[in-house]
Symmetry: C2
Subunit: 245 residues, 2 copies
């Protein structure tokens, strides 16, 4: 499991392609992850063509990984396949609701992480694009995702052409609770975030953005209330459109 | 990565305990999974006491793994810690919305799967309890989860005391799409679900439940429209209560 412990996000890839059989083998092996009632409530859309990358790129805010990676994978929560099977068997499917969305999204994310672990162990690099949730309607249109499917995560994949430093992580006691959740005192928060706040690169962000501290870089520049609220509305709309709300 | 490929759910555990330092090491190592903006939007509540297992057990429909495992882990989406840090730094946190819930839930599930892969590679067995989402309010109460946290997944963990067969999985072409989503024809569905429908144990389920086919076992017995709709309402309520909607 060294590859999990040594993991880092890879954003630059060699021109080298990924053989279809290798990719398919990993996509199959990852299906060993836990899945609700063994329903496998996910699908993966593989993007290799320049034309499709061109269309996906702006939906991911033109992050260069989309066009720079040989393969882009969009992992979708999928109750369409299961529901269509039920319809075909004269069974009364009831998966057009919010719980079913969360169940399918859970299946999908466990599957994504199992896939990434396998791909990284095989020497590939991955980058997880959180932007998938920012404009789901655009991705639904481009990938022609039907009702009862929803794009959850995008992974760019390729042979690494960089070896960046591992980023910091919080000390584990920051997120472990014994028996019940012990809420955080100001003193504890100071300790938990101390290392992150003192990092050279983070202090530079604060200065560049003309902020008082790192927290304000997050709230005022990177993940603002205004953006989050607008994108929440967009996501709820998309969930309705796809039949989950 | 043999442990991912060979994975099976383990529901019976030896009496053997899991040393705290070993558990903590794995919980730290798993944090190498991708996380949004390096915010680590999760917490884990460790349950070891009989008293707390007693309280959690009915919320998981008395599945015997909860009381039978030395350790029960409840993984929670957590924007509470980050928001409290922002408050402390006079930064205007805007994470009391739906997108932030989905972002935190995504972080949590990637972390869960990375943890399970590490634990299984170390020889432990895990069982993923989907029931966490069925009665979130009960779990929130028992574990005293504050606003802007939400229970997403429960894992029971222990030294395996069984070696069950690996369950079937769909052929990978069932969930892989090239460039765009190719919706399923009746013929394709027949092929995709053929193996599952012919399995001895599944045919027995159909007979036992007095149904015409396996799909009806899912829709009429295991995951019914009525239950899903009631639990969807409960989950949306709980999201409001926790400040995410």
């Amino acid at each position: 499991m060294a590859s999990i412990i040594e993991r880092r996000t890879i954003r630059k890839y060699k021109k080298e392609d990924i053989p279809a059989d290798k990719l398919e083998a990993m996509l199959y092996q990852a299906s060993r992850a836990a899945t609700m009632g063994n329903m496998q409530l996910y699908s993966v859309v593989i993007t290799r063509s320049e034309e499709m990358k061109e269309k996906l790129s702006p939906l991911h805010f033109n992050q260069p990984m989309v066009k720079g990676a040989p393969v882009v994978l969009t992992f979708c929560a999928d109750f369409n396949r299961f529901t269509k099977w039920c319809d075909l068997r004269n069974a009364n499917a009831g998966y057009d609701n919010f719980l079913s969305f969360v169940n399918a999204a859970s299946d999908t994310l466990l599957y994504v992480q199992a896939f990434c672990s396998l791909a990284e162990a095989a020497g590939y690099g991955t980058c997880y694009l959180g932007t998938t949730l920012y404009n789901p309607k655009g991705i639904i249109d481009v990938l022609q995702l039907p009702r009862l499917t929803f794009p959850i995560a995008t992974i760019t994949l390729g042979v690494p052409d960089e070896q960046p430093e591992q980023p910091d992580r919080l000390p584990h006691l920051a997120y472990i609770h014994e028996e019940t959740y012990a809420d955080y005192s100001s003193n504890q928060l100071d300790i938990i975030y101390y290392f992150k706040e003192q990092l050279q690169e983070n202090m530079k962000f604060v200065e560049l953005n003309n902020k008082e501290n790192l927290a304000q870089v997050f709230t005022d520049c990177r993940y603002t209330k205004k953006d989050n609220e607008a994108m929440s509305a967009g996501m709820l709309d998309a969930l309705k459109q796809q039949g989950f709300l």
